[in-house]
């Protein structure tokens, strides 16, 4: 099984007919915006993802997602992912603010999920979807286009490079965090500070052999 694919996914794929969607959360300065490409507003519960649970994703109100760029990454780095929204008749506050100040979006978090309907809706039950994060990154470049035919809001989302965190300041003293039974560094600080306990090995005899001092 490929990493990231759960049993739900493989079962749905095995049915040879799938319904998919892309979900996105943009953490603009003026507030979070949640969008998805499904047909109806959806409130996610029980996913265990704190950015998903309790959030209502709307397909239209916050802008219509009309283009999703390539989500490409490799061991040499990742390309920015471009999302294109059609600007509604009344632009959202986030869109208006973004067009004025880069602080509205720049280096703020955006997360994308791939969604798959794993249980179709029935006469008495709603559809059940599963969600899988496909990108978490920082909003970077904004392009607002109006070419007379389309009026769009294009946002690029940088992924891995933008998400590298500050230095961890980890040292050998963190060894037990990786291997709880490894206490090899337990006395490193004590030794460095020349403490009285544990006591240094007693010097039993001291011979001057001409090659230096030996302690036995």
């Amino acid at each position: 099984m490929r990493p990231g694919l759960s049993g739900d996914w493989t079962t749905a794929l095995a049915s040879q007919g799938i319904t998919t969607a892309i979900m996105a959360v943009f953490q603009f300065a003026s507030g979070d915006v949640a969008i998805w490409t499904g047909a109806h507003p959806i409130q996610v519960t029980g996913s265990g993802d704190q950015l998903l649970d309790g959030v209502t994703f709307d397909p239209i109100v916050n802008g219509l997602m009309i283009g999703i760029g390539d989500n490409t990454f490799s061991f040499t780095g990742s390309e920015a992912l471009t999302l294109t929204l059609a600007i509604p008749q009344t632009p959202t506050p986030a869109m208006l603010n973004s067009s004025i100040s880069a602080t509205e979006y720049q280096s703020r978090l955006a997360v994308l999920w791939r969604c798959l309907m794993v249980t179709p809706a029935g006469a008495t039950t709603p559809a059940i979807w599963t969600f899988s994060r496909v990108r978490a990154g920082s909003m970077d470049e904004l392009t607002i286009k109006n070419d007379g035919v389309q009026h769009t809001f294009e946002m690029t989302i940088e992924a891995h490079a933008a998400m590298v965190t500050a230095a961890t300041n980890s040292s050998y003293l963190d060894q037990p965090k990786f291997d709880a039974t490894d206490t090899s560094q337990a006395f490193a600080v004590s030794i460095a500070n020349n403490p009285t306990a544990p006591a240094p090995a007693p010097v039993i005899a001291n011979y001057n052999s001409g090659y230096g001092n030996y302690a036995f």
Partner: protein
């Protein structure tokens, strides 16, 4: 100020083509030939052809067509001969988005349902075709299958229209769609066909 959706074409079409178009993608393995279909959405398309009309009637038609502002405006359309003598029926439970099955109540006991496959129904001006239905109700309720699937959750108790099922449509483009032109006889005007899709 025009308030959309407006009513349907003021002339009865002589030819109506109504079809359900699905937007799908097919991912096929070049090794095994097996495929996975990505099913995205479905929409009704209609194409209407009109008989030659008098100049006076064509003016009314032109006003209707132009008031749609191309694809901006929407109009209601009731497919030809789509009518069942069933009234007073409502959803007996929530109709869930993406569901092809809905429950409708309003019959009494195991009364004959009068439903038929291939017939139309509409819920809140969303047009659907009945794919499977029971010949009679069960405890006053019929569970039926429809196409296309429900798009947005619809509350229980919402009326289901069988007598005049209606959908909301928009013109495909504003080109020659429904344009009027004079034929050989100056007394009659021919009208180009009108193409429209469901206004989703």
């Amino acid at each position: 100020m025009t308030s959309y959706p407006i009513s349907g074409p003021p002339i009865t079409a002589v030819n109506e083509v109504i079809a359900l178009h699905r937007t799908q993608g097919l991912m096929r393995s070049p090794f095994t030939g097996t495929s996975v279909i990505v099913d995205t959405f479905a929409e009704w398309t209609i194409q209407l052809a009109f008989p030659p009309v008098t100049v006076a009637t064509s003016k009314i038609f032109n006003a209707w067509r132009d008031s749609l502002r191309g694809g901006l405006g929407t109009f209601l359309y009731h497919p030809h001969a789509a009518s069942l003598p069933i009234s007073g029926k409502t959803l007996s439970g929530v109709a869930y988005a993406y569901s092809n099955d809905i429950t409708i109540g309003g019959w009494s006991g195991s009364q004959p349902s009068l439903l038929g496959v291939g017939e139309f129904l509409s819920i809140a001006n969303n047009l659907h075709r009945i794919i499977a239905c029971p010949p009679s109700a069960t405890s006053g309720i019929c569970t039926i299958s429809i196409e296309p699937s429900i798009r947005v959750d619809i509350a229980s108790g919402t009326a289901v229209n069988f007598t005049a099922p209606t959908g909301v449509f928009r013109l495909v483009d504003s080109g020659n769609n429904g344009a009027a032109g004079y034929a050989t006889s100056p007394d009659y005007v021919t009208l180009d066909p009108v193409s429209a899709v469901t206004a989703l």
